[in-house]
């Protein structure tokens, strides 16, 4: 019984956090981009435009929902949920603070990466079922990209896992008591950052929804709330990737003075800021260059990193 209450409680909390967090992130993104671009960004709706994204969300809910006549309706309706649900589940294992984790699985890290990676199935289904050439092109790109970048993503973390000797998220945090893994494994950190950008379809790797090429990519045909779910999904994915980066490389919730969850959120938002900063600085890569980058740069470097780490660990023993 208590178990059920706990599940419902945590479920509601996570859902609430996800929505508020996504709204905040969208606002933050718009503010950061605006300041980089010498603008003010949202300003007139609420204090500094804080309510802007709320207005956007309410509006999106109230919009008409369109349905492509020749598309696969069942899959079309399923896709947004398929993108969003795994991301919600990923919150299960994020260690927000000492002992503050819903389920500290002993394969926690594998669990979270595998969950974030299956979102591309939802993206592919969205593109396929829309019966739109731009959407299909976008979803094809998403599949190619996700399959390629899963490898460097996992490779880059292998070094960390080797040092920590555990896949448990709390164990990974605990292993960074003295030194962050970002300092021990700088190359791995950069590779992870690149790969997680690609996994979350963020610029400069945002080719599945490349606005200037594919109109709106895989969600070209989605309107209203369904589109909002993709939007929500994108920002939640960014948050989760940043949270993983924090846990793995930046010492998780560890920090002086402030309580754990605060440190955790601070660090995560700092990573999110970097992600945004990258987005608003660079042009987009081309799809074949994206693959080249993964296979010819990230994967060899990742393998080299794992190899070096292993050698050093053997010698230290």
């Amino acid at each position: 019984m208590t178990e059920l209450v706990k599940i419902i409680l945590f479920g509601t909390l996570v859902a609430l956090f996800v929505s508020v967090n996504a709204l905040f992130l969208v606002w933050m993104e718009r503010k950061v981009s605006a300041r980089i671009q010498l603008r003010r960004g949202p300003l007139h709706v609420g204090w500094e435009g804080l309510l802007q994204t709320v207005a956007d969300a309410v509006k999106l809910v109230s919009k008409e929902l369109t349905l492509p006549k020749e598309g696969d309706k069942f899959l079309y309706l399923l896709a947004p949920a398929l993108v969003f649900a795994p991301l919600l589940a990923a919150f299960l294992v994020l260690p927000l603070g000492p002992g503050l984790v819903i389920r500290d699985l002993n394969v926690g890290f594998l669990f979270v990466t595998s969950l974030t990676n299956i979102t591309f199935i939802g993206i592919f289904i969205a593109g396929w079922s829309s019966n739109n050439k731009y959407a299909l092109l976008g979803s094809m790109r998403a599949v190619a990209q996700n399959i390629s970048y899963e490898i460097p993503l996992l490779l880059s973390t292998m070094g960390v896992v080797l040092i920590a000797g555990t896949l448990k998220m709390s164990g990974l945090v605990a292993a960074q008591e003295k030194l962050w893994f970002a300092a021990l494994q700088p190359a791995a950190f950069l590779i992870f950052l690149c790969a997680s950008l690609a996994e979350a379809n963020r610029a400069p790797f945002d080719i599945p929804e490349a606005e200037s090429e594919l109109v709106a990519g895989f969600h070209t045909e989605y309107s209203g709330m369904r589109f909002a779910l993709f939007f929500l999904g994108e920002y939640t994915a960014v948050f989760i990737s940043s949270a993983i980066a924090t846990t793995l490389f930046l010492g998780g919730w560890r920090g002086p003075l402030l309580p754990g969850p605060v440190w955790f959120l601070l660090k995560t938002y700092a990573v999110v800021f970097v992600v945004m900063w990258i987005r608003w600085t660079f042009p987009r890569l081309r799809s074949d260059q994206l693959m080249n980058f993964a296979w010819k740069v990230l994967i060899p470097l990742g393998i080299a990193n794992v190899f070096l780490t292993a050698v050093v660990l053997v010698f230290l023993k």
């Binding site: 671009q37 945002d206 200037s212 090429e213 660079f282 042009p283 987009r284």
Partner: protein
């Protein structure tokens, strides 16, 4: 074939008429003449037609890169024959020019690969530039347009089938880029034949922004044509003002005062910078970099402030007048410009750091959309796109007008002819224009800004060309001595530049299509007129 032996051969004064000689050849020999010119590295600058009572005159203007040596060759097409030989196999640029003439006059070009409407919808039944076309009855536009909604929808499917373009089960397919697409810079439609993401061929379909400039100018007096030149190429409108002013001033034989000349060059060069900045911003937007767009627009706003001081407008300038200007510049313009320049130079450095040297940008643009010199000649490509192929051709030097000969500036070139070269050339052109601006600022003499001018242009045929931001903008005027132009053809640079994209697209990916399209710097209303 020596032209001097042909009928009606005339030596003309290039300073007044814009052409060195003029000749009429018989239609069956024009291909021979054109082949001759092609061998001597002339390009087909302009091809147009004029409707006379007894025949059509099809007018060819050939010109050379480097010091201009323009010649005009005409053929006479009797109304009952209504057919002329096509030059599309000799000059690729003739392809679109001939389609335009067919569209506007109904002249059939024998041997043309694909003679169909280019600017008007395919269901149109009119040939608007014929003198016998006296306009459509009032209210026709709504009915016509609503009819078009149905026809165009049906027409598209029919055209796919008619041209054998059905989607085959082999995996290749067709994709419409535009007319509403974030990266077509307006309302261009590119029909892409794709295999996966690889482009097999691409065909630009234009005319979605056709605004009947040429017919409009025929029914207006010379003065009333000014707004048209502010709106043809709204991004670099000052050069278009310049072109029209030069044409009419040459024909009337008037010279503006030095003050006017200086202000004209000053505003034109500032406008050229804004045009290049706008191009750069939108081009990078196509490549997925958002932020440079905002920096470019920030700089552009500052220049627009200066131009607004002078002209009172931000975009569609109607600033020049025959022999003068609309209004004088205020005294605060010079200090404002001087204050702007140092900050802008710093900003240019940031652009180089943010874009030019960026590894992603280089990878995306190097070796992409290569245009060879020969293709450029054949397609009549001009402007920065041509200079990126390594050709030092710029009418400000080759056919000096106004005070350009007295100014010190370079013509930047690059050698690869790819997207990156085009970017580099434009960036350097911004610096050169800035150089011109800073030279003029201190030297604007005092003087009158208005001149008394005659109301009409003496009977004759005049040609005038200027270097606009996108390439050679030229005007061909047939005057019958009355208050209105009899025929005023605007040869716009992007029209020819865009037609060359057919050569650059095959083998690209969809992402590259956008980059190539962006690198050409097209302005749709200028192409469609």
């Amino acid at each position: 074939m020596p032209l001097a032996e042909t009928q009606e051969f005339l030596e003309k004064d290039p300073k007044k008429f814009g052409v060195g000689s003029e000749a009429v050849v018989s239609p069956d020999r024009i291909a021979e003449v054109a082949r001759d010119y092609r061998k001597q590295n002339y390009f087909l600058e302009c091809l147009t037609a004029v409707d006379f009572a007894e025949c059509f005159e099809v007018v060819y203007h050939f010109n050379r890169w480097g010091a201009s040596e323009r010649t005009c060759v005409k053929i006479l097409v009797p109304k009952d024959v209504n057919q002329a030989p096509s030059l599309a196999s000799i000059y690729k640029s003739a392809d679109w020019f001939e389609r335009e003439i067919y569209d506007m006059f109904g002249i059939i070009f024998a041997g043309h690969p694909d003679l169909k409407r280019i600017l008007l919808p395919e269901s149109a039944e009119i040939f608007p530039l014929l003198k016998s076309f006296k306009g459509e009855p009032k209210g026709a536009d709504v009915v016509q347009s609503l009819k078009l909604i149905e026809e165009d929808a049906r027409g598209f499917g029919a055209r796919l089938q008619g041209a054998g373009l059905e989607e085959a089960p082999t995996g290749d397919y067709y994709l419409n880029l535009g007319p509403q697409h974030p990266s077509t810079h307006g309302v261009l439609r590119v029909l892409l034949h794709l295999d996966g993401e690889r482009v097999l061929s691409g065909e630009p379909i234009i005319g979605y922004s056709h605004r009947h400039h040429e017919k409009m100018m025929e029914i207006q007096n010379y003065l009333a044509c000014w707004p048209n030149f502010g709106r043809m190429d709204y991004v670099g409108a000052m050069s278009y003002n310049f072109g029209y002013a030069l044409l009419v001033e040459k024909a009337m034989g008037i010279r503006p005062s030095p003050r006017v000349e200086h202000i004209r060059v000053l505003t034109t060069e500032l406008n050229r910078i804004t045009s290049h900045l706008l191009w750069m911003g939108t081009f990078l937007l196509d490549l997925g970099a958002f932020t440079p767009f905002f920096y470019c627009f920030d700089d552009r706003e500052q220049i627009l402030d200066i131009l607004e001081m002078a002209t009172g407008e931000r975009l569609t300038y109607d600033y020049f007048r025959f022999g003068g200007l609309d209004r004088d510049v205020p005294p605060e313009l010079v200090p404002a410009t001087k204050a702007f320049i140092p900050g802008f130079k710093k900003r240019l450095k940031d652009y180089h750091g943010l874009v030019t040297k960026n590894v992603i940008f280089e990878k995306r643009t190097r070796g992409l959309g290569v245009l060879t010199k020969d293709q450029a000649l054949s397609y009549g490509v001009t402007g920065p796109a041509l200079r990126a192929c390594g050709v030092r051709a710029d009418l400000r030097r080759d056919e000096p007008y106004s005070i350009y000969p007295a100014l010190d500036f370079d013509i930047p070139t690059a050698k690869d002819g790819d997207v990156y070269s085009r970017y580099l050339v434009r960036m350097k052109e911004i610096e050169e224009s800035l150089k011109i601006v800073s030279q003029i600022l201190d030297k604007i003499p005092a003087g009158e800004i208005k001149t008394k001018t005659p109301k009409n242009v003496p009977r004759g045929e005049y040609y005038s060309a200027v270097e606009a931001a996108r390439g050679v903008f030229s005007l061909y005027l047939v005057s019958d001595g009355s208050l209105n132009p009899y025929r005023l053809k605007a040869r716009t640079p992007s029209f020819s530049n865009l037609s060359a994209i057919v050569e650059m697209l095959p083998g690209c990916l969809v992402s590259d299509v956008v980059a190539v399209l962006g690198s050409l710097d097209i302005v749709l209303p200028e192409i469609d007129r």
